[in-house]
Symmetry: C2
Subunit: 314 residues, 2 copies
């Protein structure tokens, strides 16, 4: 199978959102009137982001999900993506399952794969995702204000707990692992939430490197501090049964792909209504304050000393 056959067979689908899709030197895309383009790239490397024996269907899902999560955090509507792959060989069965996982998620978000590249080399998956948002409604990192409430979606730390189990650092029962493994292998990008937060959130980020690291980016960009309550953190039942690991998984675990955002306190009830409508828990975990530090209080109100920031590749 040639490189072109491979692209044709596994990565060429209809591209109703594009003027010109896969198969020319570049795709041609019309950005909607009144919208600006939101663009982000994420690269997933075998051995760094996933194991070599990862289920290719789940990997296809996750490769796109982590990119959709970036658009969600901007309040952008997903529209297009390119996918560049470096593959050790042309493994038809692997490609079929990878592309099935990728396109199932793409279709759910009406996203077109409009181009990319396929080459031989160590397994590496690079997506550039493009969406649209009215410029004035984009959810940036630098808009948090003193007095804002700090919120997160979903539960935190389950992906890190599942990884700890896979790495032998904790032992979960089969049913416990199943309950948290979905967060690691099939994160659900919070695209609908991002859209619902337009005009409500003052700042937003997706939690990929751990809550404290990512909230820290909001605080640094906005020039504010925060006080957050450990007891308020949304965690799963499995996480609650692992008190020794919980704090680290929840605050610094990474790979959550939930949204962390800030909003004025008068939006509190509206956010609870959005949570109900989206069937997605939204939890107020603290508030933005003057200063530049992020202080975490435990249940007794004492501030917690933390070891490390978050995930860092270098």
């Amino acid at each position: 199978m040639s490189e072109f056959d491979l692209i044709r067979r596994h990565f060429t689908r209809a591209t109703p959102n594009a003027l010109l899709g896969v198969g020319d030197d570049a795709a041609l895309l019309q950005v909607s009137a009144g919208k600006v383009l939101a663009v982000s790239s994420d690269m997933l490397v075998c051995g760094t982001h996933f194991f070599a024996d990862a289920d290719p269907c789940l990997l296809g899902h996750k490769t796109l999900a982590v990119n959709l999560s970036d658009l969600a955090a901007m309040g952008a509507t997903p529209r297009w993506a390119t996918l560049a792959l470096s593959l050790p060989g042309a493994d038809e069965a692997w490609l079929e399952r990878f592309s099935a996982g990728f396109f199932a998620l793409a279709q759910r978000h009406q996203l077109d794969l409009v181009g990319g590249d396929t080459t031989r080399g160590p397994l590496n998956l690079c997506v550039t995702i493009m969406g649209e948002v009215p410029a004035s409604l984009a959810l940036r990192r630098d808009g948090a204000k003193v007095g804002d409430e700090v919120w997160v979606s979903g539960n935190l730390g389950d992906a890190a707990l599942a990884l700890a189990h896979l790495q032998g650092r904790v032992h979960l029962s089969g049913s416990e692992f199943d309950a948290v493994a979905k967060a690691l292998h099939q994160p659900q990008p919070r695209v609908a939430l991002g859209l619902a937060l337009r005009g409500i959130a003052n700042s937003a980020i997706d939690v990929s490197d751990g809550l404290l690291a990512d909230l820290g980016h909001i605080l640094a960009a906005s020039g504010v501090g925060a006080e957050i309550e450990l007891a308020a953190m949304p965690v799963s039942a499995v996480m609650r049964s692992q008190p020794a690991l919980a704090q680290r998984c929840v605050l610094a675990g990474g790979d959550d792909y939930e949204l962390c955002f800030t909003a004025a306190a008068h939006h509190h009830d509206e956010l609870l209504r959005i949570a109900h409508e989206l069937n997605l828990p939204l939890t107020c975990i603290g508030k933005a304050v003057a200063g530049k530090d992020c202080i975490v209080h435990d249940a007794s109100g004492s501030s917690i000393q933390l070891e490390s920031g978050g995930y860092d590749h270098f």
Copy 2:
């Protein structure tokens, strides 16, 4: 050095073309009124596209150049790019030279680096490039018409000849190698030519996999054949001194990053004028004909039997 320090130090420059550049979940870009977005991704892998000991400055240039070449082949004006890197380690000296080569070329084309990703893993460089073009003037592959003249820019085959020398398949003198090595290491994307061809060329492609393979894409997409003349091929003096290798390097070498395009015969003189203005040779190498084959004639007029199509990773 952390991942964020690394990005800040080596990959964060002013982004005058962007509403929001590096440092949020996504960049925000305003596409100009009356233009559509042209998007392309290319991934360069160590061991497949370049040697591990490649000069990082030249590699930075080439990583962007091959992407600019795709925009040139669409007749698009370069505007923005994202760069995702997988790096074996945080080698400051390497990164400084790589980014110097990348940004020197970016600046020459007023292109902003607006985002990307940095991760640990086998050396891999993935650029997604974005440009603008009026939709009706984009140079597509599918517009070639019977009777069109077939043209190429620059010289063909020098990059393949330089690679053959590096791989020990031919021995060039020092000055001969220097003369052709520039084509391999520092290809000059034909952006100005792409813009000049708007409204003149009926189809275009950049020659990255070898002339016959890439011209073949135009012919297949356009539903036409072609007759081309081997004797007409633009080649360097060094190439002329290597008759045993010339045919294969010129027709199937790859890595040329010249433009191959077709245009109605009445544009012939205008194209020669453009060549003069851009100080870039443009050579008519044949014409598009009815049918679907590409026939290559040698100097005596006989058709040549060819071995293989072009570069294929799989």
